[in-house]
Symmetry: C2
Subunit: 148 residues, 2 copies
DNA sequence: GCCTTGATTTAGAATAATTCTAAATCTTGA
DNA sequence: TCAAGATTTAGAATTATTCTAAATCAAGGC
């Protein structure tokens, strides 16, 4: 009997998180997560689908949505909704906020957040505050240059 | 010749803002804004449409979208996107943030924000930061009570 | 190993949300 | 009064997401 093949750290991490939510590690979920890590430009479900197909031509759109939902559910991916368009996905689970270019729609990670404590937000009695989402709006370097 | 009829402050405010953006004050735009002020529960375009129809049965969905866009453009209404569902609209132009119940989807105004200064956000060179959007996630009183 | 059971994937249909188009209507200002 | 442009409208078109039911897959019991 062969010993279990050593797993890449990201894969075992993936498996752990999925297992904790009662979900299985499947090639599709692996591929979707890989796509997100390859280019962290906060793609939409549709973009993930197109990129995932390169190495897995038989994957379907429904599966991409399923996988994204599974990854979000088990805490490996964040959903990012910034405008009226399609939802975007982010595999960076470090505490961070998003800079959104209101002109071209590009999204950047900003490795800085505002904690509930330092924000000193006072919410009315009865509410339960779980986390604070911060979105920075403005212009990306390209658009800012053109705007002058 | 009659003197101009005195306008309600909200109407003249509406007109001023629209005019500043080169837009006209129309009954439909007035009605849409009124609907938003009547019940500040952050309705979707569809909900605005249904409510607007009560007093203006001939208004169309396209017009509701047009009016909402016009009001957003001239700074009288804020767009609020919090999840994968439809965009919501808010006529409260005071600086405030939104509490979103991740369970039932209800939205509440929280009259407190984090200014770019006190947040002390450091954005990379070249970016132009215009404003910070803060969304508080958690459970509303009803859902928090049931969650126990 | 073989079978049962439940999880997952899949294609495609269905639905929801938004945008587009072109014609009709309204407003403004010459 | 008229021309030009803005706005509204219905409905088509598009985009985004969810649903459905059948096929496939994987794990655990025997
Ligand atoms: Mn991110
Ligand atoms: Mn609000
Ligand atoms: Zn940009
Ligand atoms: Zn709730």
């Amino acid at each position: 009997m062969r010993t279990a093949s050593p797993k890449a750290p990201s894969e075992s991490n993936l498996n752990t998180h999925l297992a904790n939510s009662g979900l299985r590690l499947t090639p599709q979920r692996q591929r979707v997560h890989e796509v997100l890590r390859e280019k962290m430009d906060h793609p939409t479900a549709d973009q993930v689908f197109l990129r995932a197909k390169d190495k897995m031509p038989e994957i379907s759109m429904a599966t991409v949505y399923n996988c994204l939902d599974a990854l979000v559910q088990c805490g490996l991916v964040r959903q990012v909704t910034l405008d009226r368009g399609a939802t975007r996905y982010c595999p960076n689970m470090q505490d961070h906020s998003h800079f959104y270019c209101d002109n071209c729609g590009s999204v950047y990670d900003i490795l800085q957040t505002i904690s509930p404590e330092e924000a000193d937000i006072k919410i009315p009695r009865g509410f339960r505050l779980d986390n604070i989402e911060t979105n920075l709006h403005g212009l990306c370097p390209d658009c800012a240059a053109k705007a002058k």
